[in-house]
Amino acid sequence: MGKTIAEKIFSKHSKKDVKAGDYILANLDIVLVNDITGPLSVIEFQKLGDIKVFDKDKIVIICDHFTPNKDIKSAQNVKMLRNFAKNQNIKHFYEPGHVGIEHVMIPELGLARPGYLIIGADSHTCTYGALNAFSTGVGSTDAGMAMATGDTWFRVPPSFKVEIRGKQKKWISGKDVVLNLIGKIGVEGANYFALEFCGEGLRNLSIDDRFTISNMAIECGGKAGIFNYDEITHQYLESLGINAFDYIEADKDANYEKSITIDLSELDYTVSLPFSPDNTVNVSKLEKTYVDQVVIGSCTNGRLSDLRVAAEILTNKKVKDGLRVIVLPGSPKVYLEALREGLIEKFILAGAAVSTPTCGPCLGGHMGILAEDEVCVSTTNRNFIGRMGHPKSKVILASPAVAAASAITGYITSPEEVM
């Protein structure tokens, strides 16, 4: 029996011939924490005694959730992480001005590579599957202990094959693909599974589309969302100056417990209504749904191509009166490129607020919290009860194109309606 990408990556990192279901210890290429999960990790690490981290270059601390710090407690937490990074000589610690959203920054920094095994104390660590890595979210204790040992325990997951076919129409994006997938299989549809994305349709999905899709693998319970390596992955890594790595391909006779096919040509603009990411509906079938706020950004859709789409739709147009539109570039690099391309100017002229890179309102942190009964259309990844503020507020998940179009009309709108 052949092996899946997940089985091959775990075999390589445990130096054993492993198969789905095995419990193993595996060596890690990157251990990631943020300003919410990091303090708990460091507290646990420090209880181990006066020791050094396993590799100062393989630990990444990105304080993105409440950055720039929103209150005294979040400032104290970051201060603690800053001191830890300094004492342990950790290379990858970033301050405001250099810091962005972890899952946007890590690929940019060239830290995620094909064939890598990455854990992060953040559920959206699965984002790097777009680059053919096995990356997965864990808890703080996991990350803290891994900082000491450089390894952790895993149950090797069974795999779920997602075959992509066809070509999508203009404005349909990775967000529509992944919302469609989650809507089809449900929020528990891939619980404990590694999703593997393959098929001839992959050539129509840009690297940013893939980041968006892998990012939301967790929203259907996926342990990882791994893409086959191809020319698009190659070109992206080459643009970062990365050439040395071994990419991983599944064997032709690998075992998949489940499989599904998605035809890109059949996709329409998809949104997730409150309060679950699998509560999906096509925009064309939606009753007129008014919103109070539009958020464009996050680890799901805060990349340059996302801002380009939003800016194209908002060019020479105005945000609907009474609406708040918040744009959050995912990293300083994204912000700077958006500035140089004139996107930021377009946002401001349209009447949108542009924030420094931060997770901000996505998790109800800061920079756009919702009041009672308010509705937000957002390019973020979760629409749970109270996710963005008041327990009686509502979040609707959408692509940057739908979010930008909705900013012009004030209700959930397809881009074709305004272009």
Partner: protein
């Protein structure tokens, strides 16, 4: 291990935001976190419950964020165990790592009502509803996890291995 307490009933897909909302995540102490357990779902929950109470849930309990604050808040509030038809992967892992006893059962738990007196025999894999005199079986931990739980979680596991793994640092 025998765990006893009143049933606190929850449904399917109870996410980590409902367990502990993001606005409380600057806190790291489990007792402090426990004061805001289920705040947005059942605002008065921590006042209504008693130490030792057992959460009974449906599918996909703990879906969403990787926040370990979620099992810590449950533990910190004094809940003794969670039994559900399934757990989200990261929550399951976190609960094992922080020492919150959680159990997966394929049996239908719908006949258990809020406040029923429950008793869990963890080693035998039996949940007893003392109020209704009805028993349910649940799956024992796989061997690897049982070892992890028996030595007190991931911290002790790591502490035991530390000399070996740190000699190359």
């Amino acid at each position: 291990m025998i765990l006893e307490g009143a049933a606190r009933i929850f449904g399917n897909n109870i996410d980590t935001d409902l367990i502990i909302a993001a606005r409380y995540l600057t806190e790291t102490n489990e007792v402090e976190l426990g004061k805001n357990l289920f705040k947005d779902l059942r605002p008065n929950f921590v006042n209504e419950m008693n130490k030792g109470d057992i959460i009974v849930a449906g599918n996909n309990f703990g879906c969403g964020s990787s926040r370990e604050h979620a099992p810590l808040a449950i533990k910190g509030a004094g809940i003794s165990a969670v039994i559900a038809n399934s757990f989200a992967r990261i929550f399951f892992r976190n609960a094992i790592n922080v020492g919150l006893p959680i159990f997966v059962t394929s049996e239908n738990l719908n006949s258990i009502e809020e406040g029923d007196k429950l008793s869990i025999n963890a080693s035998e894999g039996i949940l007893l509803n003392k109020t209704k005199n009805k028993t349910y079986k649940f799956d024992p931990y796989p061997e690897f996890l049982l070892n992890l739980v028996q030595i007190g979680g991931l911290f002790n596991f790591t502490k035991n291995r530390l000399k070996e793994v740190q000699k190359n640092v």
